[in-house]
Amino acid sequence: MNVFISTVGVHLKNTLARPMFQVVLVVQPFVVATTTYMVYRDAGVDNLAAFVVLGGGLSGIWSALTFSSAGDINRERYYGTLNPMLASPTSLPLIFSAKITANAWLSLLALAISLVYSRILLGVTFGVPHGLAFFGSLAAFLFSASTFALCLSTTFLLSRSTAIMQNFLEYPLLLLGGMAFPVSILPQWVQALSAILPMRWGSEALRLALDSAALGPPFWEALGWTMLTGVVYCALALFLFGRIEYCVRREATLELV
């Protein structure tokens, strides 16, 4: 537990000292919230707040988490700290889980910024009719998106092209995961593809928790899928870390920059 807590602490210190992370955390919610507001302002949707605030907040969370999967690994590679990390008695999944947890906490700021911005500048009021369901869904979203990011981090460990992969994956997954816009506006075949992403179910559960109507089976279904896919990705990440550690020791790719 000490290692987990100190890794979270070290990661928070390192991350908050980085100007680029501050930009991602603060600017992205503004951009996405404004874009979403412009798109939906005259569309006559019932819960504009759900689209604007969640759109901005969730995309901020997602960007922060992909940073934890890719950017952080790249930085550790550049600092030369991946080798001491691998050669220490602490397991890599524990270290990376702590790093992603730290980023998940920080990313909640994105949601808060999106909320305040939408309220003050766009005049969008954000009510939470089902508080417990909303915060439960938010916790489930963070858990499942973090396990998905943990999975991504294993593949990023193998390759030195992490920055390219991060940029390549960030936006398609943002759209496929229904974080900026609900996936229901995407073509059917794309929706089917997005079903394997825990973020899709998490963002759907969050939107349904903001609906003033009573919580029905679709909410519980979305929440259930969020948790289930989160657990599946967690198991997959643990399996992949075991394999990837062997691969980097065999292929000698850990320190290539």
């Binding site: 070290v10 000292a17 700290t81 080798n83 001491p84 990390m85 220490s88 008695p89």
Partner: protein
């Protein structure tokens, strides 16, 4: 006293596969280590020298469980490096030369605390150890400053403190004094001596031969992935027994003098190293007098006050062994 070797390497080989070409990519195998065997004894300072690319870092990476050998076997403290890495890791530590391997945005103290946690050192013990180690390397007063503000020498000393945080039984130091100024390098060498005094086995690589001669009990010479000599520094110098070294510093070109000297029957080997505009010519010879006369004739304008004749040292033995490569 336990005389079981701390490190046992048996017929170890390591091949790297790389791709060449852009459109039509072809795989190419590079043999970094070939059939390497050696043993390192408890509390020994064991040196490994060789030209760049000889395989020194690869061998250290295998012994520190960062790489898996392609063939052969290596055991550290009785554990197999390929399969029992979890048993080895808490008991060893390592430095790869240079400034990397630290968190620059954290203070020196926070770096040590974090690595103590990674090595599962109890918090109370860790606090006392961090203080002791920072005092030992002379960084206690600067402990709260971010590492990015440290000089290269301070970072290297912090590395030394870092690798002692888990009180390792074996320490692997890959060119730990590279790029350090003479004072910092001397402080580091003294520390290495102190560390061995505590019963730690040290596996050391360096390009500075006098450093290896001073510190190491035994030295292995690695060339193109193979060990070509392994003995005490005194015994390695036997390779150049009976020879004298004529050394001359020349400002400017040598005008082919080195080539001419190589062709002389009494000259054993010639090496040239450059530092800025100054070139140092080293000639290992059976006849120092005739060699000096030859140099006088070939370089009439050279300042011969910079010419010395001396008995050979470990560096001369190394140059002879690796065939002129420094």
């Amino acid at each position: 006293m336990n005389n079981t070797p701390t490190v046992i390497v048996e017929n170890l080989s390591r091949v790297y596969e790389t791709s060449v070409g852009v459109i039509k990519r072809r795989k190419r195998a590079i043999e970094a280590l070939r059939d390497v065997s050696l043993q390192v004894h408890p509390s020994e300072i064991f040196g490994l020298v060789g030209p760049n690319g000889a395989g020194k870092t690869t061998l250290i990476k295998i012994l520190t469980t960062l790489l898996i050998p392609t063939q052969g076997r290596a055991r550290v403290l009785g554990f197999d490096v390929a399969r029992q890495e979890r048993q080895i890791r808490p008991r060893i530590n390592f430095i790869f030369g240079g400034e990397r391997g630290l968190y620059w945005r954290l203070s020196g103290q926070d770096n040590l605390r974090y690595f103590a946690d990674l090595y599962r050192v109890d918090r109370k013990i860790a606090e006392a150890r961090v203080e002791r180690l920072l005092n030992m390397v002379g960084l206690w007063e600067r402990r709260e400053e971010r590492v990015e503000g440290y000089s290269k020498g301070m970072k290297q000393l912090l590395h030394v403190a870092k690798v002692l945080i888990n009180e390792p039984q074996v320490l692997f130091l890959d060119e730990p004094t590279i790029g350090l100024d003479p004072v910092a390098a001397r402080a580091l060498r003294e520390l290495i001596g102190e560390i061995r005094g505590r019963g730690v086995t040290v596996f050391l690589t360096s390009h500075y031969m006098w450093e290896m001669e001073t510190l190491c009990d035994r030295v292995a010479v690695l060339k193109e992935g193979q060990i070509i000599a392994l003995d005490t520094p005194a015994n390695l110098k036997q390779f150049v027994r009976g020879l004298k070294v004529v050394e001359l510093q020349v400002l400017g070109g040598l005008n082919g003098t080195d080539e001419r000297l190589r062709s002389l029957p009494y000259v054993d080997s010639v090496s040239v190293s450059a530092s800025g505009h100054v070139q140092t010519l080293r000639v290992q010879t059976n006849d120092a007098q005739a060699t000096v006369a030859e140099i006088r004739a070939a370089l009439p304008d050279a300042d011969l006050s910079r010419l010395i004749v001396r008995p050979p040292n470990l560096e001369d033995a190394y140059v002879k062994l690796v065939g002129g490569e420094a």
